[in-house]
Subunit: 681 residues, 2 copies
């Protein structure tokens, strides 16, 4: 199946290249249409009762089976067999959904303040968001305001032995080169880290198979320190660099251990999606790239726009980074750059840490198969997926079988020496996931479809390898897709979710901004079948991961007095009866209990200008007995779960009588769960 590089360029790529008309590829919307594949044969002989209900509602016969395949009745949470952790795109948050119901179980506040959860509205969580701009201490100057949103692209669940372990999840900020860590004991964000030397990010995040590291690399490359921005674009190759970042994970807490972390300097191509090697490829990460032309636009001055300049070359470069080797040399051969150990590009080359391999036209996804042998690349202007083989890669490296070096001296492996096969899947292949039977599933953006094909041995042994076996239209313009546990060493199969970017006619009458469209695809039948559409009208999800729900062992009640930031009991937490007010000069410290249906104390008196520190302990032990806390006019909103301790500090600088109250409808006398903050002259 392997094509020579020459065959590829002259032959099959022509069709894809033909899609570029005057540089306006993007105007094509996949014409998936409505011709869904109906499978399973479950549409005949339905009882007249059920048929009558369906007919009265205007359903088609085939809809009954789809309904029954996706419905999760109330009170049966276990029937949502999988949970999806979905990036929120430029909402900055992380969504959790159940599969197959596709119900949104929670949206976790991460980079963007979220007042329902009291995230960033006066509580200690503010410090997490503040520290997330420049790491640790928060903004270093007024010209670097605290960043209060992100473009979250790729969530990464923690892994043990290459399987999700349900402990933590990470998510990166494409806009600003940051990363956040969420603890799945309470489903709350614990840390936001502004990664040095990354102005923006894309490649990652993902974790290595035992959560040794979480990886995040540059998107658009970073201006090097000391370079004059005024002439930077014209001297692009010298002015910018990329960075592949390995953030070490503390194995107890899941937080970033910066001292053990490091970066590998990369050329200033636009590094794109990435994945961690596993099993056969353990120790490697693979990063796609585009714009190795280093085009920078200038369309108002008559230069071609970036979309054209960046699409000139037939090949960009798959980056291969050997982090096990990097670990060995980082102690001795790195330099410190803005607080991060960096292995310079020349050292990375010399030590055999970094290699390139050609990847066809405008590559996007780079996904590693379950056993780690294959790396599947979708080139979005090429109708094939290109499948690299780690055994061929390692053999080629050992043999120094290079076709050239790039202008930075990085060895480029020969295409034919590392590619074990190519499958013609259709127009605009982007991302690939895997099932438990040796098949790969690739999203086709331009064609608005999901393609299914066989992998090579040992993933797939039953029939012919590298054979397209099925395709299903989706609606419309699919970006990522996810199969259940489909990027682990043990995929679960069953479903694929198509993350469609356009919905156009799938939802009606809700204004000028359309939702995204998630489609649940059944993999259990002979043919793939779209079961349901789910609008995503609050986010622009990119990658998602789907984990077996029973892997998550979250808390439903905090151990008494737990501070959500430290996940330890707070020394300032109280039990029932420990309520008090302490006056220290112009600071009033209030130790308050919170329970149905009162705050105690319920009257707080301070002088205007005094500092007020509230230590709130929710002394309840009943699951779901969450209370809110708001102070009118002070922009304070907190959510305090059962057992939780929370702290709030503010200057009482507005005179008046302010009725603090519980914002969470907690009991029949919830409305009476109120008190007064009296600020007098």
């Amino acid at each position: 199946m392997a094509l020579t590089r020459r065959e590829f360029i002259s032959g099959t790529a022509a069709g894809a290249a033909g899609l570029v008309v005057g540089g306006v590829v993007g105007n094509i919307i996949g014409g998936g249409g409505d011709g869904e594949t109906v499978g399973g044969g479950a549409v005949t002989g339905v009882s007249s009762d059920i048929t009558a209900i369906a007919e009265a509602r205007g359903l088609e016969p085939g809809d009954i089976a789809k309904a029954v395949k996706t419905f999760v009745p109330g009170g049966r949470p276990e029937l949502d067999e999988f949970y999806v952790f979905s990036s929120g795109g430029h909402s900055g948050q992380l969504m959790v959904m159940g599969v197959p119901s596709m119900r949104i179980l929670k949206i976790i506040g991460v980079f963007t303040p979220e007042s329902w959860q009291g995230w960033g509205y006066g509580s200690e969580s503010d410090a997490v968001i503040k520290a997330g701009t420049t790491s640790e201490g928060g903004p270093v100057s007024p010209s670097r305001p605290t960043l209060t949103w992100a473009d979250t692209h790729h969530p990464a669940l923690s892994e043990t032995d290459g399987e999700y372990d349900g402990r933590w999840v990470y998510i990166q900020d494409r806009a600003n080169g940051r990363i956040a860590m969420i603890d799945l004991r309470d489903f709350k964000t614990k840390q936001i880290y502004d990664v040095p030397n990354l102005v923006s990010s894309h490649g990652g995040c993902f974790v290595t198979p035992n959560s040794e590291y979480v990886h995040i690399s540059t998107k658009t490359p970073t201006l090097r320190d000391g370079v004059d921005p005024a002439s930077a674009l014209e001297n692009f190759a010298d002015s910018f660099r990329g960075y592949s970042t390995f953030l070490a994970i503390n194995p107890q807490t899941g937080r970033f251990d910066i001292e053990r972390s490091f970066q590998v300097e990369l050329p200033p191509y636009t590094q794109d999606l990435a994945d961690a090697g596993k099993l056969l490829s353990f120790g490697w990460v693979f990063i796609g790239s585009y714009n190795t032309e280093m085009a920078y636009g200038g369309n108002l001055e008559g230069n071609p726009p970036i979309e054209v300049g960046a699409s000139k070359a037939d090949f960009d470069y798959l980056h291969m980074v050997n982090w096990k080797k990097a670990e060995q040399v980082v102690g001795t051969r790195s330099v410190m750059l803005n607080g991060m150990r960096v292995i310079p590009l020349d050292v990375a080359i010399e030590e055999g840490i970094l290699y390139l391999a050609p990847e066809p036209r405008s590559p996007h996804g780079a996904d590693v198969s379950p056993n780690g042998r294959y790396i599947v690349v979708g080139g979005k202007l090429d109708p094939h997926v290109t499948i690299y083989d780690i055994e061929m890669i390692e053999k080629a490296i050992a043999a120094q079988d290079f076709e050239a070096h790039d202008q930075y001296g990085i060895p480029i492996l020969r295409f034919d020496s590392v590619v074990s096969g190519r499958v013609e899947v259709g127009a605009g292949p982007l991302h690939t996931q895997f099932d438990d039977k040796g098949y790969g599933y690739t999203s086709l953006f331009l064609e608005s479809a999901v393609a299914k094909y066989s992998l090579g041995a040992p993933d797939f042994t039953a029939e012919e390898s590298y054979k397209l076996v099925d395709k299903v239209p989706v609606h419309y313009n699919i970006g990522h897709l996810v199969a259940m546990e489909g990027d682990t060493v043990k995929p679960a199969g069953k479903y694929v979710i198509a993350l469609n970017k356009w919905s156009i006619d799938r939802y009606a009458g809700i204004g000028t901004l359309n939702p995204q469209n998630f489609q649940l695809v059944d993999l259990t039948g002979e043919k793939m079948e779209v079961l349901s559409d789910t609008p995503i009208g609050m986010a622009e999800p990119h990658y998602v991961q789907a984990i077996r729900a029973d892997r998550i062992k979250s808390w439903d009640v905090y151990p008494p007095g737990t501070d959500q930031l430290t996940m330890q009991p707070s020394p300032h937490a109280i039990a029932d009866g420990g309520e008090r007010i302490e006056q220290n000069g112009t600071t009033t410290e209030v130790y308050m209990s919170v329970k149905r249906s009162n705050f105690k104390p319920d009257i707080i008196r301070v002088k205007k200008g005094d500092r007020l520190v509230l230590h709130l302990t929710n002394v309840e032990v009943t699951p779901d007995a969450t209370h809110g806390f708001a102070v009118p006019r002070y922009n304070i909103s907190m959510s305090i779960d059962p057992g939780e301790y929370a702290r709030i500090e503010f200057v009482a600088d507005v005179e008046g009588a302010f009725a603090m109250y519980c914002t969470e409808f907690c009991s029949a006398l919830h409305l009476e769960m109120q008190g007064w903050i009296i600020v007098s002259a």
Copy 2:
């Protein structure tokens, strides 16, 4: 059916009063259990194919009909017959959901910045949020920061002749006494108004039957100007006042017309939920209240908590405000208070604008029946709903049939003269909605159930009036409920949605903060039947309204160059070819076109410290061709829909090369839709 006041106190109320044990009513969680009513008889004789699918998934036989009753297949948006506009509670937003699928179609950014929609992240929308703190110009002092969240409780769709007209929706901020207006042409917020004299709000918002006014009244009363906060609580009756606010609506734009607006001063009870009279009661509004005891707590000093102090009296007061009369006198008999015309309390009494009527123990909801005749009040510590009759009320007022006057001189109508019936519905009745067959539906918080009962004539004529006919358990602790168009003059019946506050065991393993639980209830069978559970894990909805989807005629593309704030073409919008950069001193103005797949110009060069004004026009005409716009490190996120003009202004105060990019995956070359902002010394 009418009880005397004496009978009420001595008899049936005892059971409810018994629920108060040591002041800890709230610890009771309704024991609804899982014993759902199964109706419709649609569980037998299902085809073996479908049954096999159901059995394989572990579904019960009755689940098949529920699945078929709620499933909305992809590409059939019209099968979501109704749209629900749901408050977001302390998320500060407004949610739109489809019925019966219960899919969340959109979350509209209102009071809280929302970066997916670019709401409050650098665009002109910032001005809407800023102006929403003190009306018009934004914060007047550093001690009044811009409020960046709200506790949204009650959405109010605009009406014509008492029916929803699908033009606008309003929603109020319980925390801060504010109100927002959303245009349903583009589903975006146009105005946030900080209502004078309201520190917080609850009663409302709702619109009068021809959208003459939108009403919003105080929750906890407002400290009067000039009163010393230090002694305010001890002199509660003199220190505080409530305000019933009638914001006039501009009939063309839907925006608030402050000059034609007014308030009616109210006593400092805690005014609660409210509703507008219609048809027979047109011209009135009705506001429930509690804490007419004016308890203010002090539990750390040994006083009873507010929950006890506010629950002492057997009756609080239903407020009746005659806004048609108020309109007649506001021109001559109002005073100007903080920019709002206010009819003082004594004038309101003298002019017959304000009356009270006793309402039993801890009243909450006050809901007007479709023909306007009945006002149904739920007293949450009384197992009955109490039904007032506007004909009796008007007769009693004409006869001056008062039992007393309150301490402010407001006439109190005799309970027996205005109450036409009471129905024993169960423990903890809160809110009531109506169907098209003359039934009322009341939520029972303590019992975790929905009660159905017949109303009096002319709403209901078929059988016995005021008779409980059905009850269905819900899960758990229902607050509001909504029937389809169930607060209009022409309810649509079909479904009720139970908005349950607790979910406890309905969802598993998603951390310490539980979602709320919406349950869709089928009204078409002999018995009510719960069809589905939907988690709400991003908001705490209070009231919602449900409108027939076909009443909404929204835009899918803006007229070219529309400014979303004015809904008019912007003079700064451009067409393709109009791109340019203008330098005016230290201000750089960029007129940029935005389309698949480039920004033009794609390079912007400014000096550090210069002001950059970007005029972005999305020149696309294809529905769903939305583009995003982000600038790394500058905390800027915008969403620009097809046809939309957007403006952004900032000081380029950080030196560097910043890759502005499109955040909305718009085309196969979306990743190349990028450009450079070069900020040099």
